[in-house]
Amino acid sequence: MRRAALVVFACLAAAAAAAPPEGRWTGHAQLPGRNLPLVLDIAPGPSGSWIGSLTIPGQNIKGAELSRITLEGNRIDIDAGAVLSPPTGGGGVTFKARAEGAAIVGEMDQAGNKAPFRLVRTGPAQIDPAARSAPVASSTQGRWVGEFELGGYPRHVTLDIANDGANKPKVDFVVVGKQTTKLPIDLVNEAEGILHIESRLYGTTLEARVSADRIEGTLEVGANEIPILLRRSAEKTS
């Protein structure tokens, strides 16, 4: 009888080890004095990899992309990249977990703090699709120039946009103030006549309506939102 029980237990353990982590996992981390709610969504990615996102209600974290998911036996390690990473350093959120019956349990790490967590599967995975770049309207291509004011100083802007097939359009976004800054561009798309360009490194987003001779809207730089007007330049794109 005891042997039979051990066999059943071993089978269950093997099943747990082999169970794929796909799904929505809901629960919380037990921080000292409070529970931190967590929602992890994990799904198969391309070529045997895993993709996922993290939601933390109350922390303005919704569908944040998981930068790394590693499976080994019944162990799963997850890195949520810069999520809840203090600007003073200390590291963002990581999870070291193992399958335990119908749950995954383990330790969450944030800024060097560690807390136990337990999640149970509550449904299919709902990975937040990341915003994608896409070709802009052909009439939006070309060189646009203008200026905006920030901190009492004028800044001159040159924006060159060119489609690159189905790939992310090529964008040169150059701001000349006290110094010249070429913004690295992460996201470019256009829908319903609204051009959207993001530079995450500089915390800058252009969102503006495109017409034949002008791009008019707002430039968000950190917490500042600045009106911006760009006009089509006669100069050719370099």
């Binding site: 004095g33 209600p57 922390q59 919704k62 829908a191 319903e192 939102e225």
Partner: protein, 431 residues
């Protein structure tokens, strides 16, 4: 025929008559011609967002729309809880969207009013108001020091837009009621009040009805922006506690019903603003927006936690039930059942005829009861709720209250399901 095809494709019946805007229609009756659950069966799904959901879900063609204080506006499949799209803003979105045609309208605490493609979330236009802010006053609610200005933590909503004709109307923290062209966001007119406008304008027969934190309630011509009349609510120059219209009005059969922080529910003649009757609640705020059904007005109070049913013509009490905690979220009435959200993290279903409790849903956060914010039977645990070593008791207590998954959101009833948001960050589909 096209509608029937859509229903078949979705495998999900469309709600009847409820318009996709705050309180189910432009007059804000809070009345839903749909079946809702008579008994609690289960939570069909819970959709997690990154912060509390004060906004109330609205539905069009099987898609739910709502805002979250995580700064996003969401579109979610009503049948499955799967996200269709989300659109980021730079501030909390505690107001309720309105959907008209294929465009969604809603404001954000970032000071913008957005028009989005309802199918994709793509921006159509955004309008910049004079900026959002909370109601604030010196020595608010008796907080010390009396000369210090405090913002009101319970000024928790933003004005929800109402759509009528080619215009969309909403109030703003800059003190104005706005009328914008639905197509391009240009200003048709703006009407200035004396303080923040976070109540939601109701529309009936060419007139907008909305209250302001200046403690006046206004009737404004929807075409011209000209004032028709104004009604003066209570004043409280010392503690600023018994002042201001936070409740949104319902307009039915020529009568405006609206709650006020001066602890009254008022019935006003829609044509003249003359007071017809009032129900006084002895110092307890009336934040809920009243529902009007079958000649009855249904509303609830904050501190006294009373669920009221009164005669719409006379204000005479028909039924009064003692609840457990503050009620800010507004009752939705569907075929004889009133669904009342409560700040203790519960949704109560009550008989709309007599207020008797039919069933209760309780969030997990409310069951967890972190820090014993609640008593064992679900009332706020005042000694621990307001515990503080300093002068910040009000701020700490608000955080403790919200930690139990408070329901400020007003329910949407459709397809035997109640949809409602919670401060635990979820929107729940309860059946």
């Amino acid at each position: 025929m096209r509608k029937i095809s859509a229903v078949l494709l979705l495998g999900f019946a469309l709600p009847a008559l409820a318009e996709p805007m705050f309180r189910g229609d432009a007059a804000h009756t809070g009345l839903y011609d749909a079946d809702g659950p008579r008994e609690f069966h289960r939570v069909r799904w819970a959709f997690p967002t990154g912060n509390r959901v004060i906004s109330s879900p609205v539905m069009q063609a099987g898609t739910l729309y709502f805002g979250s204080d995580d700064g996003n506006i969401y579109a979610v499949e009503a049948s499955t809880g799967r996200q269709v799209w989300k659109r980021a803003t730079k501030g909390p979105v505690p107001g309720t969207p309105a959907v008209a045609g294929d465009t969604l309208y809603v404001g954000s605490y970032d000071g913008h009013f957005y028009a989005l493609n309802a199918a994709t979330g793509a921006l159509r236009w955004k309008f910049t108001t004079g900026g959002e802010r909370h109601y604030e006053a010196k020595g608010l609610h008796g907080m010390a020091p009396a000369g210090q200005t405090f913002f009101d933590l319970y000024d928790i909503y933003l004005s929800s837009p109402v759509v009528a004709g080619d215009s969309v109307f909403f109030g703003s923290g800059d003190g104005h009621l706005y009328a914008l062209d639905r197509g391009n966001g240009s200003v048709r007119w703006k009407f200035k009040t004396g303080d923040v406008v976070h109540a939601s304008p109701a529309y009936a027969d060419g007139v907008l009805y909305v209250g302001s934190w200046d403690s006046y309630f206004y009737a404004v011509d929807a075409k011209t922006g000209q004032e028709r009349w104004r009604f003066h609510g209570g004043e409280d120059p010392v503690a600023h506690n018994q002042v201001g219209f936070q409740s949104s009005a319902a307009v039915v059969d020529g009568v405006v019903y609206v709650g006020c922080r001066d602890s009254n529910l008022y019935a006003l003649d829609a044509a003249t603003g003359k007071e017809l009757w009032r129900v006084n609640n002895a110092g307890s705020w009336v934040i809920t927006s009243p529902a009007v059904a079958d000649g009855r007005v249904i509303f609830a109070t904050s501190d006294s936690a009373l669920f009221h049913i009164v005669d719409a013509k006379t204000g005479r009490e028909i039924a009064k039930q003692q609840g457990k905690a503050y009620m800010f979220g507004s009752p939705a009435v569907a075929r004889g059942i009133a669904y009342q959200p409560v700040t203790n993290g519960m949704l109560e279903a009550r008989d709309a005829a007599n207020g008797n409790l039919l069933w209760t849903f309780r969030t997990e956060a409310s069951k967890e009861n972190a820090g014993w914010a609640l008593t064992a039977d679900g009332r706020f645990n005042m000694p621990l709720l307001f515990a503080s070593n300093g002068g910040e008791a009000s701020i700490l207590s608000a955080g403790r209250q919200f930690s139990v998954g408070s329901m400020f959101s007003s329910p949407l009833v459709a397809n035997n399901t109640v949809y409602v948001g919670s401060t635990d960050g979820n929107v729940y589909a309860i059946e």
